[in-house]
Symmetry: C2
Subunit: 309 residues, 2 copies
C-alpha cells in the first residue's frame, strides 16, 4: 500500500477518498480538511478567541491540536460531569494534553458548581442520561464562553457523529432539529457562535490522527451511552458505508446542499419565541430553561413550570 | 402468547403494534390496514377497474387477495422479464393463483413483445439490472393498464419497501424522487393512477398473510437483486427496527406528514417538462423515453439521443 501523494509506504487507507496516505500526508489531509471546513462554512476568523470543548476523547483533543496547528487562538474547556471513574479518567487525559503543551484549560465541574452529577440528574428528571448530559454541556459551554469572553465554541463532532445525528433527525422527521443541524450556528441572543471543524473527517481518521500525533486519549466510550439510539444509528450507517464508501459524506453534505434550507423556517419559529430564563437569563422558549429545570429536579428544589404565553 | 383481540391462542406478534393475533384477527388486521390506507390516501373508488401487478411473490398476491376481499374489481398483470428459471417459476405461481380462483390474469412478456430480457437489457444499457427492470416494469404496467382500460395500477410495495426506498432517496437527498415518493400518484399525462395499498403492512406480515390464507408464492428473491443497495438499506433499517419497533412506520409516515411537501416543487419541475416520446408517445423529459432507449440498446438498433430544448 503506497501513499497516493508521495508513493512512499502508506499507513492508512481512506476508502471514501479512494486513497492511501503516509503519516505526513495523512496529517496534512486532516489539517486541509479542517481548513476547508473552516473556509467553506466561515467558521473562524484569525482574531477570534476560540474555546474548544474537550472531553479527553480523540475528536476533541485532535480538533484542539489541529486548530492550534492552523494558527488559531484556542483554549480548552473541560466539563466534569460526575460520571464516576469515567469522568476522573477523561479529565486526566484532557489535563495531561494541556499541561504537556503549556495550554490553558478552563475547568468546570457540574457536581461542584451545580450540586448534581449526570446519573443523578438523569434519574431525577426522568431523562435518558445522554439527553441530560447534552443539555448540561450546551449550557455550560455557553456559560464558560461568555464568562471567559470567547467568541466561538468549537466542538469535536466528526462526520460520523453528524451523519448519525442527521439519521436520527430524519428517521423522526424532526423538522426543527433538521432546521438547525448545521456545522456553524451564528452567535445570537447572547449565545456564542458554535462551530464543528471536524465535519469533513471520520471517527477512524481522528483515532489515526491522535495515534500519529502521539496524543493520548480516553479510548473507552462513556458507560452511560451504551445501548443508546445514537450508537444504533452509527452502526446502521457503518453498514451502508462499508457497502458504498462515501455514503456518510454524501448523506451529510447532500443534506447541507439540498435538504437543510427546506427546514430552516421550522428552526426560526423556535428562535422567534425565545426569551430570557427567569433563573439564569439564557434564552429559552419557556419561563425556566431546560438546564435550570434539570438543576431544580436534580437538587430537589421545586420549580414552577410553565410556558410563556 | 394470546391474541390481543380475543385472548385465544396467538399465531403472530406484531411488535410495532405491541400486539399478538390469532389467525382470524391477524387477517382482519391486514384487511383493516389496507382499507385504512385506501381511505387515508383516497386510493380506490368502488367503480374503479384495478389492475394489480403480480410478480408471483407474497406481496403482490396478497394485495390482489385483499383487494378482492374488500370488494374491489381487480384483474392481475404478470410481466415476464426473461430472468431464466426465476421468471418461469414466478410466472407459475401467478398463473396458479389466478386459475385456482377463476381470476383474470393479463400477461405481457418482455422477450416476446420487445425482443430482449432483463439480463441482456441491463448489460447493453450498462445499467444495474434492478434499474433496467424497474423502468421496464413501469412502462409495461402503464401500457397494459391503458390498453386494457384500467383506471388504476396497484402494486405490492409494502412498508419495508417504501421505507428502504425512502432511506435511499434521503441518503442521496434526491429531491425530485423525494417529491414524488407517495403512496398514490394521480392519473396524468396519459399515465394511469398508481397506488400502493400495502404501505401500512410489513414484509413479515405479508408472508404470514399468505401462509394463513394458503397462498403459494415464490419465496426466492430475484437472483439479479442479490447484493443491490436496496437490500442493504433494508438490512440497515431492520437493525433500527429491532432496536426500536415502529421506526420504519414513523420514518415513512413521518415523511408523508412532515417531509414530503417540502420536495413537491422539485418533482413538479420535472412534470412540467414532460412531452411525448417520439417512438411510443409516453410522456418523457427527453425526445425518446427511457424504455425506448433501453429497447434500442438491448436490440442493437441505434437511437439518436437528445433532450428537448
Amino acid at each position: 500500500m503506497k501513499c497516493t501523494v508521495c508513493k512512499g509506504p502508506a499507513v492508512i487507507d481512506v476508502r471514501r477518498h479512494n486513497a492511501n496516505f503516509c503519516a505526513e500526508h495523512f496529517l496534512r489531509l486532516c489539517r486541509d480538511q479542517v481548513a476547508r471546513a473552516i473556509k467553506d462554512f466561515d467558521m473562524l476568523g484569525r482574531s477570534d478567541r476560540v474555546l474548544v470543548a474537550v472531553s479527553g476523547g480523540k475528536d476533541s483533543l485532535a480538533v484542539w491540536d489541529i486548530l492550534l496547528g492552523l494558527g488559531y487562538q484556542v483554549d480548552g474547556l473541560y466539563v466534569g460531569l460526575g460520571i464516576g471513574d469515567y469522568s476522573d479518567s477523561s479529565g486526566g487525559f484532557a489535563r495531561a494534553f494541556a499541561t504537556e503543551r503549556g495550554l490553558h484549560l478552563v475547568e468546570v465541574d457540574l457536581p461542584t458548581d451545580h450540586g448534581f452529577d449526570i446519573p443523578t440528574g438523569a434519574r431525577a428528571a426522568k431523562r435518558v442520561p445522554c439527553s441530560a448530559c447534552g443539555l448540561s454541556k450546551r449550557h455550560l459551554f455557553d456559560e464558560a464562553a461568555r464568562s471567559g469572553g470567547y467568541d466561538v465554541v468549537a466542538t469535536g463532532h466528526n462526520l460520523d457523529d453528524e451523519a448519525a445525528v442527521l439519521f436520527g433527525n430524519v428517521l423522526h422527521w424532526q423538522a426543527d432539529y433538521l432546521g438547525r443541524q448545521l456545522p456553524v450556528l451564528p452567535a445570537r441572543h447572547g449565545f456564542p457562535k458554535k462551530v464543528k471543524p471536524l465535519v469533513r473527517l471520520g471517527e477512524r481518521e481522528m483515532a489515526a490522527y491522535c495515534v500519529l500525533r502521539g496524543i493520548d486519549y480516553i479510548v473507552e466510550e462513556c458507560p452511560m451511552a451504551a445501548g443508546n439510539k445514537h450508537l444504533g444509528y452509527k452502526e446502521a450507517l457503518n453498514a451502508i458505508e462499508a457497502q458504498s464508501p462515501g455514503s456518510k459524506h454524501d448523506f451529510y453534505f447532500g443534506f447541507l446542499d439540498r435538504g437543510s434550507h427546506r427546514f430552516t423556517p421550522d428552526a426560526e419559529v423556535e428562535q422567534r419565541d425565545l426569551g430570557p430564563c427567569e433563573r439564569c437569563g439564557v434564552p429559552t422558549t419557556g419561563e425556566v430553561c431546560a438546564f435550570c429545570k434539570l438543576v431544580a429536579r436534580a437538587t430537589a428544589v421545586p420549580v414552577e413550570l410553565g410556558r410563556r404565553t
